[in-house]
Assembly symmetry: C2
């Protein structure tokens, strides 16, 4: 099979972790006789430095021409504390999501038995956790009208949702629930927000099309609590963009394996796969960052974008083996030897 | 001293837990020679049933005439799954906050050494946690324009903040930090939202007025993570209304003592004190709910609204004694005898 993949390394540790995913993917391609064409594009702070904007048209064209996008991370602290900066790396992320129509961010949170003691939660709370948060990614307050009035002394942001946007995301959620435990939780703030009432009403109307799925409706503040208390009580959760931003990050740390969590963003034009950790600038260039989340994102890509399930499974097996044998970066090494990012990548590729 | 207190018991377990706080407050008043006048008002689902609205004018007048308000909880599940309901208990809460100008919700999260093992977090993560979240309570997306367009198929909500609103809340935060460890964290989403950029810029401008306070700026998604990972790394956090809603609830469960956490809402016209737990309808009328958060809210009231520090301290001491001696409701009893809500209240009042 010919696989056309756009490769966006991005900022911070992005390039290093992406390198390892490329090695592993190439090893898989070799083994299964696929031919991968990687086409690199610039994004984020790196792209701002080079061409003055974080998601240039040239990069967009590369993504549009590809069958899938493998993405590292973007963001740089030099922009964070300057509220007046007009060009920011994150704008690239948002522009990319919008232009590629990446409407659904799929974020699994699960545990690795060997890593369960890394969780900040007690074992009995986290054990058995296997949930997916489906975050709407191209609507809501991220993309509504915003601005200043009154000499800059009043600021506003607008959150907007259409019924069609909710349906599109919720449909994925129902379908995903059907392949799992058939439980779906719609997370909103319907006791306050009109957009949330539209979400709830739309999902309620869709229940009849998926009679086997049991749907619950919970307020975002309650979910923020229960994710810490009983994460293993959840299966599939669907929610709007901003709530999803907060809850997926909260969920990512409860497993204690944040450096291992992959994600997919399902799009109208293509799909994008990325680790959920950020650009972690403090570690950039040190060859110490954990590449496993990116490698597992590549596994998701093989399975979801190309239907190559066996290939994906092999990657996951080799990752498990590296964990079992302690071929891990410093964040997971504890008192044992810590391997470099590149060493972990080499080991994985060799073991494919 | 004469203490004029408005008493809003509300829904669910509200009336039961409020009763205990009244007993304890009366015992304190007797001991210290104060004269409390309690004036009861209706709110929430109870008020909807009686007069058709959740925060009637008569109740507002009671609050305005009082020196402080002691509040139980409101909310009833019969309204939750009906997105088309036009009158909701929560509207009462919002109307009350707005009409009383309760602009700052003060939410401490701390641990009780004897209860630390109730936390879902591992001991080493939660030990030493003592933080305060200051949530803006009368602005933002809770009170902006909202509605439907396009035959009901498009919904919108607007988040608005003025510089003056941010300054008012931030000033409290700086002052509070000065009485504690002098660390303040401003929580926002300045990489996306214009209102957040106004928050960040306003707080940055205020730094020079409080040169001793060290201010950090963190994104709400990052805080949602760190609250689970290292809650004891925070001191005072300030944030806008919706982020505060989510983060205060998340913070409330990490201590494992949610049933014990009090809160204060500081207002333009008066201040209001309430437990942070909700109306917990499943337990209503069973005399099993934990009254300690409400009793500790009364302690906050003595101290913050009336400057009666000694009285507040005595309440806290007696609460600690009840915990040490196991005079607790079923949520805290473990394998030991569980006391009724009213029994705990009687014991506390007797021991004042
Ligand atoms: C960087 C930021 C704009 C982004 C978001 O809020 O969506 C990030 O937090 C994420 O979750 O991918
Ligand atoms: C009931 C609801 C409107 C309210 C809020 O969101 O403010 C509650 O969650 C709270 O935090 O007091």
């Amino acid at each position: 099979m010919k696989l056309n993949i756009a490769l966006l390394a991005g900022d911070g540790i992005g390039p290093e972790v992406i390198d390892q995913a490329v090695k592993v993917s190439n090893a898989v391609a070799k083994k299964f006789n696929h031919e991968i064409t990687w086409t690199a594009g610039i994004t984020g702070a790196a792209a701002i430095d080079e061409v003055g904007e974080p998601y240039p048209d040239s990069t967009h064209e590369i993504c549009m021409a590809a069958d899938a996008v493998l993405f590292g991370a973007i963001g740089h602290p030099r922009f964070d504390n300057d509220p007046k900066a007009t060009v920011r790396p994150e704008q690239g992320l948002l522009k990319m999501r919008q232009k590629l129509g990446l409407f659904a961010n799929v974020r699994p949170t699960f545990t690795f038995p060997s890593l369960i003691d890394n969780s900040p939660l007690k074992r009995e709370r986290i054990e058995g956790t296997d949930l997916i948060i489906l975050r709407e990614l191209t609507g809501g307050i991220y993309f509504g009208e915003r601005g200043r009035k009154d000499d800059g002394n009043t600021a506003f942001d607008t959150c907007t949702y259409t019924r069609a946007e909710v349906q599109r995301l919720a449909k994925l959620g129902f379908e995903m629930a059907m392949t799992r435990s058939k439980r779906l939780c719609c997370v909103d703030k319907a006791n306050v927000l009109e957009t949330s009432r539209l979400w709830r009403e739309t999902v309620q109307d869709m229940e009849k099309d998926f009679p086997e799925v049991t749907v619950s409706y919970e307020f975002v503040d309650a979910v923020a609590m229960r994710l810490v208390q009983w994460p293993n009580s959840y299966d599939v959760l669907i929610t709007e963009n901003l709530f999803g931003d907060i809850l997926t990050d909260e969920a990512s740390v409860i497993s204690g394996s944040m450096g291992l969590m992959p994600s997919a963003s399902i799009g109208v034009h293509t799909s994008l796969f990325e680790p959920i950790h950020g650009s972690y600038p403090q570690a950039a260039g040190k060859d110490i960052a954990n590449p496993l989340a990116t490698v597992l994102s590549a596994a998701m890509m093989f399975e979801d974008a190309f239907g190559l399930k066996e290939e994906a499974e092999l990657i996951r097996e080799v990752v498990n083996k590296s964990l079992a044998e302690g071929i891990v970066t410093e964040d997971l090494a504890g008192k044992n030897k810590a391997y470099k990012t590149s060493e972990v990548g080499d080991w994985l590729a060799k073991n494919i």
